[in-house]
């Protein structure tokens, strides 16, 4: 079943079975492997991408549901010359990542969080990041990164 959509600014057609999840379409069909699968119950957030600019868990959406819509993955965040998005840069500067596995989902959630709550304080950031699990960083530096990234996005 061919589905047309826009991924990272590019029009694509994915021909996949009707029960294909968006995350599998991205990873297996489009080979955008920066979006990760960390669980099977939509709890960990490693698969977070933007759908029409809003963070969603791509393991919880069918490819067919996003026909005609615009998906942005972690691969689409840096500028064409490779310069990182201010949130990506803040994660590096603040050491907001270790093994890197939750990181793409964390960055996608963080960007959305800052768009919705540009002035979020620490408690609000922690609450808003509830949908993304990280086992390495203890969240301390992720919170700092989100604060710094928010400033960079203004």
């Amino acid at each position: 079943m061919p589905v047309e959509l826009k991924v990272n600014g590019r029009a694509v057609t994915v021909d996949a079975a009707p029960n294909t999840l968006l995350v599998h379409a991205l990873r297996e069909h489009l080979r955008l492997t920066g979006t990760h699968v960390g669980c099977d119950t939509a709890q960990c957030g490693a698969c977070t991408v933007h759908l029409d600019g809003k963070a969603i868990k791509s393991c919880n959406v069918l490819l067919a549901q996003v026909a005609g819509r615009e998906v942005t993955t972690i691969e689409g965040m840096a500028a064409a010359d490779g310069t990182m998005h201010p949130m990506q840069a803040a994660f590096k500067e603040c050491h907001g990542l270790q093994c890197g596995f939750c990181t793409p989902g964390m960055v996608m959630s963080a960007v959305d969080l800052c768009q919705r709550h540009p002035g979020a304080n620490e408690a609000q950031i922690r609450e808003q990041l509830e949908g993304n699990l990280c086992r390495c960083t203890g969240y301390h530096n992720i919170v700092k990164a989100v604060q710094q990234g928010a400033a960079g996005m203004k």
Partner: protein, 791 residues
């Protein structure tokens, strides 16, 4: 080069930003599941739905006819191939001199399944979906047997293995029992404790994955696997299970999304995809689902302990005796047997001068997932026990939590404990003092009043931990039962133009070795860290390696690199001496330049490197060309990180909810190379420890043996709003037994924090008469404890 000179080099102690981050932040990391090989098939495992059952028969006919299926194998196929079972890497000898009971551990079950999730068959198909559908069609006729999941039930449970009719694996002990008992006879006070160290699921966010690939043309195998020690994986798999020649097997652990111990071990799935890849002559990928990970990744902890501390009238510890029942699960995982013994009991002197310690450990088989090393591996269990009983002793003796610790701190080093270890260095008073200051203990009383005004109970908890890292001198480990060496290997390859590639047997799965190790090498050679690349995780590129666990990478792996650098420097000095027409002994090397002592003659490192590869003006009669050195380093002792953690919690007595309000961690890691990375390690460890104390618990149903906490919806992982930001501090007494002065920092946070949290909870609840609570101190448990204390 020695540790004192090393610490003064440029880049040592600098918070350099990580070299690996760009690829992770832009989605370019390559984890095992991201790899797609030509013609690759997909594997799904048929797993036991029963905790304990005999397998009467397996019928694969319908499944083999299902769409896309290329092969299905079960335990009979494994037996027919005369392939061995998974080995245990550490032999424990019981107190009666008998070796531990070591039952077979086939990688596909033969005749019996022993835990929910046990591997029954591997189904290989063209897609994951077809493999899953076919797996549903494999008919297994089970005869269920009674299950036992709790160590306290194990002795009377139905036997899992013929070799262990009472489910007992070993009884092990350390210390002088008679001498300890004698201290109790003269004690002014004895404090007793019974506690459970809760079973945990490691849960790295990247689930395990493996791709076995056989190449018939060269008769070679490649295994891509999410693993912390690819050479160990290869050694165990080739020599002990499949009987393959090592040189025909390449194991690659690419980017790995966290390990925490769970990815140390040789697992059934890794072996099965490798073995099946030859049988089907194709590459086979298996990617674990989270639900499977809960069932079959090795779990951590699961101890039940009784302990008693004898004291004099001033609270000086005289003797400590301990009995622990340890749950090993259904089979012996790779390092399972060492965790509740060598890595646990030897730490029970802690930071204290307790002259006599005796520890007895009974280890049991149960119908649960195998239990093995999880972040800290034995040392968290030791620290939790010791720091709980020390705080309880303080309360019983009417001393403050810090005072009882100060009265018993070791102050003279080196210090020989009564349980085998010799601490080389430390400053426990300095850690306590710094923690007291950073935690603003002086302001606690005021904060307690403020909490009270809000109807909340505030408590403060202490934990002064010591742990042993850098495992270990190989000969000592061998004498204690290790079946492998525990050295590390490093190769330093200087390229003709002076840049460097380092090949290390350590493996980074979040620790940032690509940055820290580059700092070490760049500092030594006077280069910019950008000129040094670190290669790890590939038996085809790295000469050898024992991998990363037990916070050993910098102290053992880094030391191997230092030894290789010593060789590089020695050879380069000879080349420089030749170029400057001086004697070798007069050459000095600093800041990337070779100079002749007492003259102004000097040449840069790059010129020497180029000369080594373009040896026109070169002492070819005395020296080989090239500048490439390999070193193996075997440590002479463990390293001993230590510190004091202080936690403050607020408990809501109406709901039982506990919130960690402040957490201060002061650690002595010796020399710190990259403080940003070290602090990140501490943050992560603290949250795993707080998770154990307040949230996490693997629960099996005591009757059926079913895993109750089998997903992220049932097992409470710490989330961002469950924890606070942290206050960290450092004390530095450099390690005296390795050339960097480092002690290791990967596990400290998870080791030191659980007792600090629980002691704080008990301090908060003390006014209500609550004296004990087990981890995890969930709202329901806290509320229950409050209600029980009222009666």
């Amino acid at each position: 080069m020695g540790a004192i000179d090393f610490a003064k080099l440029p880049h040592i102690g600098e918070p350099l930003r990580r070299k690996e981050d760009y690829r992770f932040l832009t989605g370019a990391g390559q984890y095992t599941d991201d790899i797609q090989l030509q013609g690759m098939k997909h594997a799904v495992f048929v797993r036991s739905p029963h905790a304990h059952a005999a397998i009467r028969s397996i019928n694969k006919t319908a499944a083999l006819a299902a769409p896309g299926v290329v092969g299905i194998f079960d335990g009979q196929d494994v037996a027919n191939d005369k392939v061995a079972g998974l080995p245990c890497g550490w032999l424990i000898t019981s107190t009666d001199g008998q070796p531990m009971k070591e039952p077979p551990h086939p990688f596909l079950a033969q005749g019996k399944v022993r835990y929910v999730g046990d591997h029954v068959a591997i189904v290989v198909a063209d897609t994951v979906e077809n493999a899953k559908n076919a797996a549903e069609l494999v008919e297994v006729d089970y005869e269920p047997l009674p299950a036992v999941v709790d160590v306290r039930d194990a002795p009377k449970g139905t036997a899992l293995h013929d070799v262990a009719p009472d489910n007992h694996c070993y009884k092990w002990a350390i210390g002088d029992k008679a001498a300890v008992d004698a201290t109790f006879a003269k004690a002014a006070h004895v404090t007793k404790i019974d506690l459970v160290n809760n079973r945990l699921a490691p849960n790295p966010i990247e689930p395990r994955a493996a791709i076995g690939s056989y190449n018939r043309a060269n008769d070679e195998y490649t295994l891509y696997v999410a693993n912390q020690n690819p050479h160990v994986e290869r050694l165990l798999m080739t020599a002990f299970v499949l009987g393959l020649p090592e040189h025909k097997v390449r194991v690659i652990a690419p980017d790995v999304g966290g390990g925490f111990g769970a990815k140390i071990f040789l697992y059934a799935e890794d072996v099965a995809v490798t073995w099946a890849s030859k049988k089907l002559n194709t590459a086979i990928k298996w990617t674990c689902e989270r639900g499977e990970a809960f069932l079959c990744d090795a779990h951590g902890r699961d101890h039940v302990t009784h302990a008693e501390m004898a004291m004099d009238k001033d609270g000086k510890f005289l003797g400590f005796r301990v009995h622990t029942d340890a749950n090993l699960g259904a089979y012996l995982s790779t390092f399972s047997t060492a965790v509740p013994t060598i890595l646990y009991a030897t730490l029970l002197a802690g930071q204290y001068t307790t002259p006599q310690v005796y520890v007895e450990v009974d280890a049991w088989f149960t119908n649960t997932s195998p239990v093995d090393a999880y972040r800290g591996a034995g040392r968290p269990e030791a620290t939790y026990l010791l720091e709980r009983i020390v705080s309880r002793a303080a309360w019983e003796m009417n001393l403050s939590q810090d005072e009882i610790r100060r009265r018993n701190f070791i102050t003279q080093f080196p210090y020989q404990t009564p349980v085998a270890l010799q601490y080389d260095t430390g400053d426990f008073h300095a850690c306590m003092n710094k923690a007291t200051e950073l935690a603003d203990v002086a302001g606690f009383a005021k904060r307690r009043e403020a909490s009270k005004a809000k109807g909340l109970l505030r408590g403060i908890g202490y934990s002064s931990y010591i742990e042993a890292c850098g495992l270990a001198p190989s000969n000592l480990a061998g004498a204690l039962g290790a079946r492998a060496g525990l050295f590390e290997c490093g190769e330093v390859r200087v390229h003709p133009t002076g840049s460097v590639t380092v090949f290390t047997g350590s493996h980074s799965h979040g620790q940032g070795h690509e940055t820290t190790f580059a700092q070490v090498v760049a500092s030594r050679l006077g280069l910019d860290p950008s000129q040094v690349d670190i290669v790890h995780g590939d038996t085809g590129r790295v000469p050898f390696g024992m991998g990363t666990y037990g916070s050993r990478s910098i102290s053992v792996g880094g030391a191997a690199i230092m030894r290789a650098l010593d060789k590089i420097e020695a050879k380069a000095k000879k080349i420089a001496a030749h170029l400057m027409e001086a004697s070798d002994a007069d050459i000095e090397f600093a800041n990337g330049e070779f100079s002749v002592k007492g003259t102004d003659k000097k040449i840069p490192f790059g010129q020497v490197a180029l000369t080594a590869y373009v040896p026109h003006n070169y002492p070819l009669d005395k020296l080989e060309p090239g500048l490439n050195e390999t070193a193996f380093y075997d440590p002479t002792n463990f390293t001993f990180p230590g510190g004091t953690y202080i936690c403050e919690v607020e408990v809501n007595p109406q709901t039982g909810e506990t919130r960690v309000d402040r957490f201060t961690a002061v650690d002595d890691f010796g020399t710190i190379i990259n403080p940003m990375i070290v602090e990140g390690q501490v943050h992560g460890g603290l949250v795993q420890g707080i998770g154990q104390a307040l949230l996490e618990h693997c629960v099996y149903d005591r009757e059926t043996g079913q895993l109750v906490t089998g997903s992220f919806m049932d097992y409470a992982m710490p989330r961002a709003d469950d924890v606070p930001s942290f206050t960290l501090g450092h004390v530095c007494t450099p390690c005296t037994t390795n050339p960097l002065g480092t002690k290791g920092c990967g596990e400290a946070g998870a080791i030191g924090s659980p007792p600090a949290v629980i002691n704080a909870v008990l301090d908060a609840l003390a006014p209500l008469g609550v004296k004990d609570i087990d981890m995890p101190a969930t709202p329901s448990r806290v509320w229950q404890a409050i209600q029980s204390a009222k009666q």
